[in-house]
Structure formats: C-alpha cells, structure tokens
Symmetry: C2
DNA sequence: TATATTTAGTTGTACATACAAATGAATCGA
DNA sequence: TCGATTCATTTGTATGTACAACTAAATATA
C-alpha cells in the first residue's frame, strides 16, 4: 500500500523528466527547436566531422533517433552530412555555427532557472547522481 | 567547455528516464502493456470510481494523456467509465482486478532489478530526491 | 579470394506524451 | 434566473523516442 509511485524509480524519474523537459522547452523556445537539438548542434560545432555513431553515443540515444534529429537539423540548414564509407560525418554549416551563442544562452537560462529553485549545490549533486545511476544501470 | 551534458539536469534526467523506461518495459512485458498503464490500473483498483482528473494528478500527466490511457485500458476491457456531470468516474472490471497480482509482481521485479544494481539505499534515496525536486520545480 | 560476420546508417512503424482548441457541465455574480 | 466564467474531458495534431527489419560497407575467417 502506501505510495507505490513515490517509491518507484521508473515513475519518479519520468515525472522529473516531464517537469524539466517542459522547463527546457520554454527556455529553448527562442532557438526555434527543442533542447535535444540544441545540445546536438553544440556537439557538432565542438567536434565537426563527428560520425553519427559517436553523436548517438554521446547523447545516449538510439541510432535511428539520431538519424531523425540530423535529418531535421539538415532540413533547417544547420548541419551537413557527408558519407564516408559506412559512416556519415556531420559538420555544422555557417548558419548552424551562428546559433551557438543563442543555444548557450538558452542553456544558461535553463540552468539558472532550476538552480534558483533547487539550489546550485543540490542541482549539481543530483545531476551527478543521475549520471552515475544511468552508467551503472547500463552496465 | 567541459561536458555541458553531464551538468545539465535536463539531459541527465532524460537519460536516466530512457534507461529505466527500457528496463521497466522489459519487466512489464508479461502484463501485456507498459508500466504507466500498470500503475494507472493499480490506482483505479485501489480507488474505484476515481475521476480522471484525480488520476491525472496522481500520475502527474496531462489530462489529455490520461484520456488516451483510459481509452486504451477500456478497449482492453480492464476498466469502465461512467460520466458523472462534467467528470468521468473510472472503475476496474473483473478482468482488470484479475491483473493486480501480475502487475505487482512486475513492479517488484523492476524494483529488485534496479536495487540490485544501485543498492537499495541509493535507489530509495534517489527516488526521494527526485520527488522532492519535481515538487519544488512545479512550485 | 570468397564467404560470413559485424558495423553504421536508414526506414517503417509504433507509442507515450503534450498543447491548443473544442465541448459540455457546474458554479458564480448580477 | 441568466450570462460569464471556470472546470473536466475529448479530439486533432505534433514530437521525441524506440525497435525491428533492411541496406551497404568493412572486417574477419576459411
């Protein structure tokens, strides 16, 4: 009995995920796309010529998901793809690079917003715990 | 620079969410539906005649999402809906009630699985922190 | 070298979830 | 009591995400 929901990591994690995704969507609204795309673009800018596999690993998403993200960014003219054997290398376009500052600012706003509510300490600690747990659960 | 991803609560939360959702889907596979439906059915069994609003609040999902979930459970013959003024009351059917044990076992398996990896203490602590943070971020 | 296996990416499809707009019931203020 | 507002739900539509099946390239094995 009691509350089986509050005890279930599946539920509690997904709940926070919904809450913070909403927040992130709001702060990233000025960029014209959602936070995952923003972070993906930052990765591509930081490391031009990354393979899709590498990007998917860094973001910890399925390859098919990454394909879809890259397609969309390419459609918006923010990245280019060039096939290289069985791999695909991804590069930012000038338009893509021009967005870096905007994305970093959105990211900063998001951080400030949740840190102001949770406390900088707590937020940092929580992130670290989440990374650690994800790492462990993925073996 | 450094790793902006590991520091971002949006990203770290969503990552854990993907990891644990996969795990939960595996453990709930025997029930024939996904974990959220299982928990929803448990809520309805525990409190027959709940309004959809109440259920959506307990699960912390949008009302429209709840409508969709209930539709699906109704389609599988696990719950009934009766309109009551502007509200809708939800009741479990016999078939629905018959699934309670199965769902509880799936939930138990999920708990055991992640507790074995993270440690019971850590898992419990993490859940509590996530609830607290979600509560705070939602005001 | 020829075949088998592995690896990277894409495509079709499905699902959880949300928001905005619409509907219909209940309540409140004049 | 009537019109305005609020509230619960539904519906249309969109998005992030995954898996399974497929293709094509690379590597390993015989």
């Amino acid at each position: 009995m009691g509350d089986f929901l509050k005890d279930c990591l599946y539920f509690t994690t997904n709940r926070l995920s919904r809450v913070i995704t909403k927040m992130a969507d709001e702060e990233f609204a000025t960029t014209g796309f959602s936070p995952m795309y923003g972070y993906l673009l930052l990765l591509v800018i930081r490391d031009p010529g990354s393979t899709q596999k590498k990007l998917a690993d860094q973001l910890d998403i399925a390859p098919s998901t990454l394909t879809r993200f890259i397609e969309k960014l390419e459609g918006k003219g923010l990245v280019n793809r060039t096939a290289q054997g069985k791999s695909v290398l991804v590069y930012p376009t000038e338009n893509g690079k021009a967005l870096e500052e905007e994305i970093r600012m959105a990211s900063k706003r998001l951080h400030n917003r949740y840190e102001q509510i949770l406390g900088k300490e707590t937020a940092g600690f929580l992130s670290k715990e989440l990374v650690r747990s994800s790492d462990q659960l993925e073996e």
